[in-house]
Amino acid sequence: MKMKTEKQIVSSNQFEIMIERLAHQLIENHSDFSETILVGLQPRGVEFTNRVLEKLIEITKNKDIISGSLDITFFRDDFGRRDTPIEAQELDMNVSVEGKKVVLIDDVLFTGRSIRAGMDALMSFGRPKQVELMVLIDRRLKRHLPIQPNYVGKTVDSISSERVVVKWKSEDVKDEIILLKSEE
């Protein structure tokens, strides 16, 4: 029988500090954000983008920071290789990225395949001047493609059978990140 054990790797306090640090790092590189677009990858990068955006507005009082969300379903490389097709998600990109600095945002970077798909999807909206990657968790040992993040919340060394789960704060849940291990 499979047993599952949970281990907390980021507590709600640390979580808050991480978001704040990432926001400051973005400000350091993008100053007033006039040439920058934050793009969250559906589904879970969008929540992360919103939290960072909230923090950025709180710190800079700049309400004109542009953000969007991208659905990568039709750009994935595992179409027809999965048991069930993936349901497409809402896409909200009412901006052209032509000549802009784009920060792609996702929660967990693992194989790098989603980010590859995300970059392809992004190019449908123009030729950005520069693309950066921000992730909350970098599982650095499991990359299939040569992709590295520019901004990282926390680096985690984990094995394939483990799963990293990000829980976002809502009415009755606190922010936390846990590592799920399944044991035989």
């Binding site: 179409f79 069930t84 990109m93 190019m123």
Partner: protein, 309 residues
Amino acid sequence: MSELSVNHLLGIKNLQREDIELIFKTADNFKRIINQPIKKVPTLRDITIANLFFENSTRTRLSFELAEKRLSADVINFSSASSSVKKGETLIDTVNNILAMKVDMVVIRHPNPGAAEFLSRNVKATIINAGDGAHEHPTQALLDSFSIRERLGSVKGKKVVIIGDVLHSRVALSNIHCLQKLGAEVAVCGPSTLIPKHINSLGVHHYSDLKEALKWCDVANVLRIQLERQDVNYFPSLREYSMVYGINKELLDSLEKEIVVMHPGPINRGVELSSDVADSDHAIILDQVENGVAIRMAVMYLLAGKLKK
């Protein structure tokens, strides 16, 4: 639900309501994609699709071909006029020869009802029915209901009247099934010679008076008079038909409410629709054409997802 309950799209009759809703949800995404600066996605890049048209078509064939190309599929086209069908090859032989070239999916239009279903039982490929005789034309019905949903918010509870040559129309039958599955009320209107005898058994009311029908409905789906399928005279003259069943601006203005006018094309201007109606804000005919590409992309995407590697 993220998967269709069927492996082929043969008719709306075989679909569940959930299937139709999944197709619409997927089509919403594709509609956004075809309005982007780059309208193409790489999803079906290793899928080959054959468009087999044993009957003339402009709109449907172009719409399918464009949908296939926007999904990056490889496409081959076939029309019976320029093929060995003229030399007496059977349908199964023709299709199997095409499949031997490693084709994954077949879009077929054929003058015989049931041709698509027959193929689905006898050849190894995913079949999409693009119209079989006077039987079904599922993608047209899907795009019609999708356009109603887009214009009016939902299909449920809406009253839709299908006007004209229901007897020879595959669009009518597919539309009746589709609209009813989505919870709309459906009626037909036309001279009784052009309405099938047992239409009531589908739960569809028959209006012989056009004005009555328009007063009742929210949406009027106007069919083309299919002169090529009429072997005997079903009405005295086109002029008389257009006087009794043609929709013009005057008639629409005399109603107390605004109705939506649809037409699957090609329009006989001045017969079933006058030009001022066809070009007015009431008509969503060109929206239907745009939605056709999105709907066909959704159908092919969802069916291709069931082709196991």
